[in-house]
């Protein structure tokens, strides 16, 4: 059965790759076709050059440079009295950079491409994964395993082939941020971690770029515009980074897909307002979105801080200092968050998932305690495991004791030996903490399963779900 499944998986994979390749060729040809049609539109008799290069006299006194195709494409914008030709022309001449093609960046990029900014840059170093799909709506299944930048650029081009899409397939670092940001008028922060947010804000201050900053987690979102027209920067609001324990990640805490979608749409809106010079950007104010309560509040925040290290008058923070600044050390959290791998226990207090599997197969008398939160346990668990979430471990020692006793009776373990005690969690960090605690309380033979349920999927049963 297992080899059968892997054959199917393999065939699926190669079919998907072939499909992605065909999709790519289709969209390239479509873009080509559109380009040809556009040129034909602009030069109906081959007698005059495209409108964008001719003077206003050819346009019956109209002072814009919109081609007939542009007028048709953006007609609903042009019909808006408060937007119209002027704002659309501004937009077409502007450039916007979106850092992060994830949950926030997905809708932001799609709307920015659709609305007709002149140049749209995308920075991302990550690849598309299945567990991104519920919120990162710019990506399609055919791109799983491939760079998000490619996937996002492909989607943007298929929405609007007339926008110049620039792919920055790299992680944003102090070594490349200045050079990349320099090429754009407006920066959109659609990242997912604290060090990136400080780095992006500082870089915007150094280069005088407005920053549209959005964030989302769980069922809540936040939005504001930094460094715009004398308004505050990120450091004015948060001069000291929060403790790393206060920085939750979507991969650990979860996020309802539509929530970053809403914030990302609002980020596109703010970027469009700034780039087209209409309305009042959300500077000096912050929008707080609560999805469960269906509540949006807009609160007044402080102005530029006189003490701000980055943006105060006569600030001494230079581009050179920026290049050398260690944002990971400053925030005590990594730029590209990778799962924590603790090593708290000696080797003899640990067991691999493979070895655990063998012991179960041999009918060893044992109890497996799963210390994940109850809502994790409901997603998936190993057979016969006992769920005792880490925070309640101490209070529930008696349950472990009686489970061990019961197992010994059932398997009729002879006197002198006893049932083994194993602990598992999602990735193998909390299980070590739990074993430390168990050791202290007298369960001296307790061992944890290295790498948790993820290693079970990886090394024992590929069909065991990961989340």
């Amino acid at each position: 059965m297992e080899s059968n499944a892997s054959q199917i998986l393999h065939e699926l994979e190669s079919l998907r790759a072939a499909k992605a390749d065909i999709d790519r060729r289709i969209s390239a040809l479509e873009a080509q076709l559109q380009q040809v049609t556009l040129q034909n539109d602009a030069i109906p008799n081959g007698s005059y050059p495209p409108i964008s290069t001719v003077g206003s006299s050819h346009l019956n006194g109209h002072d814009h440079h919109l081609t007939p195709a542009m007028i048709h494409r953006y007609s609903r914008h042009l019909l808006l009295p408060s937007f119209g030709v002027q704002a659309q022309s501004n937009l077409l001449k502007s450039s916007v950079l979106v850092v992060g093609a994830g949950g926030l960046g997905s809708p932001a990029l799609l709307y920015l491409a659709a609305c007709g900014v002149g140049r749209l840059g995308i920075v991302d170093h990550d690849v598309v994964e299945l567990n991104n799909m519920h919120r990162q709506i710019i990506h399609t299944e055919t791109f799983i395993g491939r760079p998000k930048v490619k996937s996002a650029a492909n989607a943007c081009r298929s929405v609007n082939s007339t926008v110049e899409i620039v792919e920055h397939h790299e992680a944003l670092r102090t070594s490349n941020a200045l050079e990349i940001f320099n090429k754009y008028d407006v920066i959109v922060d659609a990242t997912d971690n604290a060090p990136s947010r400080y780095m992006i804000s500082d870089c915007c201050v150094l280069l005088g770029k407005p920053l549209v900053s959005g964030a989302a987690l769980g069922l809540e979102g936040q939005l504001t515009v930094y460094n715009y027209n004398g308004g505050p920067c990120y450091r004015c609001l948060f001069p000291t980074p929060p403790p790393a324990t206060a920085c939750q990640r979507c991969a650990d805490s979860g996020v309802l897909g539509v929530v970053p979608g809403i914030i990302g749409c609002l980020q596109a809106l703010e970027a469009i307002k700034i780039a087209s010079a209409i309305g009042e950007p959300l500077s000096g104010r912050m929008l707080l979105f609560n999805a469960l309560e269906a509540r949006i509040r807009i609160v007044k925040i402080r102005g530029r801080s006189l003490q701000c290290e980055a943006c105060k008058e006569n600030a001494t923070f230079t581009q050179q200092q920026f290049r050398e600044f260690d944002y990971e050390k400053f925030t005590q959290s990594p730029l590209a968050p990778s799962p924590l791998k603790l090593k708290l226990l000696q080797a003899d207090s640990r067991i691999s998932s493979k070895e655990y599997h063998e012991r179960v197969a041999n009918g060893e008398a044992h109890v497996l305690v799963d210390v994940r939160p109850a809502h994790h346990f409901k997603i998936v668990s190993l057979p016969k495991s006992l769920n005792i979430p880490l925070p309640s471990l101490e209070a529930r020692f008696p349950e472990i004791t009686s489970a061990l006793k019961e197992e010994e009776e059932q398997k009729s373990v002879g006197s002198g030996s006893s049932a083994q005690l194993y602990v598992i969690c999602r990735r193998g960090n909390d299980s070590q903490r739990a074993v430390q605690c168990l050791h202290k309380m007298g369960f001296t033979s307790a061992r944890d399963i290295v790498g948790g349920l993820e290693s079970w999927t990886h090394d024992v049963d590929a069909n065991f779900p990961t989340y």
Binding site: G100, G102, G103, L104, G105, A190, T191, D192, N193, A194, R197, G214, A215, A216, L217, G218, L219, E220, G221, Q222, L237, F238, P239, T240, P241, P242, P243, T245, A246, C247, Q248, R249, C250, S253, V255, P260, M286, L288, F289, N290, E293, R295, R297, I298, V299, K300, I301, R302
Partner: protein, 109 residues
């Protein structure tokens, strides 16, 4: 302690509405609280209120709420939908029925 926190409205004297502490207060999002003034004090300040909250409301991990005598880094304090930096931070004086919300900045995306 995340998010905007909802809030109730009270007209009883000496009452303040506090929101945004749900993760540290048994998931209770809105607290309608009555804080007695210290002897001789004419008005309650945010400094008084923070001390009161720490003693009376926070059920777990106080370090996720405060550092020293103020809120921990990464927490925005809003008094009636306004950043407390604009009203004097710890020295902000509170009026009857004022609404105080603690916002933990989000980084996810």
């Amino acid at each position: 302690m995340a998010g905007s926190g909802s809030f109730g409205i009270s007209s009883a004297p000496g009452h303040y509405n506090i929101g945004g502490l749900e993760l540290l207060c048994d998931s209770v999002k809105v607290h309608n609280v009555k804080v007695e003034l210290q002897n001789g004090a004419e008005k309650l300040t945010m400094k008084d209120l923070l001390g009161w909250v720490r003693t009376n409301l926070i059920k777990e991990r106080p370090e996720m709420f405060m550092k020293g005598d103020t809120v921990r880094p990464g927490v925005l304090v809003l008094v009636n939908d306004c950043d407390w930096e604009l009203s004097g931070q710890l020295d902000t004086t509170l009026e009857e029925k004022d609404v105080v919300v603690f916002i933990s900045t989000l980084h996810g995306g």
